[in-house]
């Protein structure tokens, strides 16, 4: 009797363990509803200076806003660029939306776009000064995109929608240069040849 009861309890426990152990695995993960958009970080006129310093890689920065129609139109191209050059460059987006949009329209739009690049929202008391400090080529219109080399040279700027082929060509030249300059010959006394890419704007 006791033996039978023990067996029944053991079988019940095994079944119960099996069911519970399988439960999480049997439920499909709802990836379609999961946001891949990073949290949008608020920055100001001081923190943006640090943010725009490249970290051993070329840095691509796009200034945009949810209310800016050309910004929205060019975003799929930016997402493609990010996918293609993820390993070679750092790419960040900086929204100039109102602060109230930091957890509303900005993440909503980035999520719709499936944008995974680090995202920031600039809140400054002096837009004029910030625009002027970022580039002389930026007249204040959006979108504005700027490409820095790994040592912070301005390689390309564009006010208005980017032309992806031009940006890609700039990045390709830049990353090829990085590769060449980093690869030192074993017995070289003169060091790697200096390759200069002139800064070009608004092409």
């Amino acid at each position: 009797m006791f033996r039978r009861a023990f067996c029944a309890v053991a079988i019940y426990c095994c079944l119960a363990f099996g069911i519970f152990a399988q439960k999480p695995a049997s439920k499909p993960e709802n990836t379609s509803l999961r946001s891949t958009t990073p949290k949008i970080v608020q920055i100001d006129e001081l923190s943006i200076i640090e943010l725009l310093k490249p970290n051993k890689k070329p840095l691509l920065v796009n200034f945009w806003a949810t209310w800016c129609i050309p910004c929205r139109e060019e975003f799929p191209d930016l997402v493609e660029l990010d996918k293609e050059y993820k390993e070679k460059i750092d790419f960040i987006t900086i929204s100039l939306d109102d602060l109230a949009e930091i957890d509303r329209d900005v993440p909503k739009f980035l999520n719709e776009m499936k944008a995974t690049m680090p995202a920031y929202l600039l809140r400054t008391n002096d837009e004029n000064a910030v625009i002027g400090s970022i580039s002389k080529d930026w007249q204040g219109g959006l979108p504005f995109t700027i490409l820095y080399s790994e040592i912070g040279e301005v390689i390309h700027t564009r006010q208005g929608k980017i032309k992806p082929d031009i940006v890609k060509a700039k990045i390709d030249r830049l990353t090829a240069r990085d590769h060449r300059t980093k690869k030192k010959p074993p017995c070289s006394t003169s060091g790697p040849a200096k390759v200069v890419i002139p800064a070009e704007t608004n092409q």
Partner: protein
Amino acid sequence: MKRKAILFVALVSLVAFFASANTSTAKEDFAIGESIDNFTMPDPNGKEHSYKDSKGKNGTLIIFLSAQCPVVKQYNDRINEIAENYKEKGINFIGIYSNVTESVEWVKEHSAENYEFLTLIDKDHVFADKLSATRTPEVYYFNAKDILDYHGAIDNDRSGTNITKQFLRTAFNEKLSGQEITQKETKAFGCSIKRNKS
């Protein structure tokens, strides 16, 4: 035959030269110190207005506006306040709508709802092209002698909550007190003027 070929090449080169020269001129910005010629444009009701008949005795502010731009919307109260303050001092405001994406009916409604000053419709952004205007709101102050004396932003904070530099008011005040304008150019943050695709 050879002579004809040489003439043809020379003609093509000449045309190419002038075409490139014209293109580079068109891209140059309208600069501080340049004077503006008289122009005529219709208001949203279709009535024609000339610059000559609309300008103020102490100058004229040309402001590029938009019916859809959120930045213009944020500035509307300030624009009206400044227009009212300086109208008494002889500076007239003229608003210009250049966006190809905004219909006359839309502009008419927007202008009537928001502004007390004269607004004009810049069909096919001809006037915006002339001044190299690219954003809304973007302002151009022409002094009493029709010379561009200030260009750029109204102030340094579109939200209006933390303004520390009143660029436009400062320029007006300096001019009205007989001084030279200290900061003649600033960068106007705003929406891009939507143009026809070329």
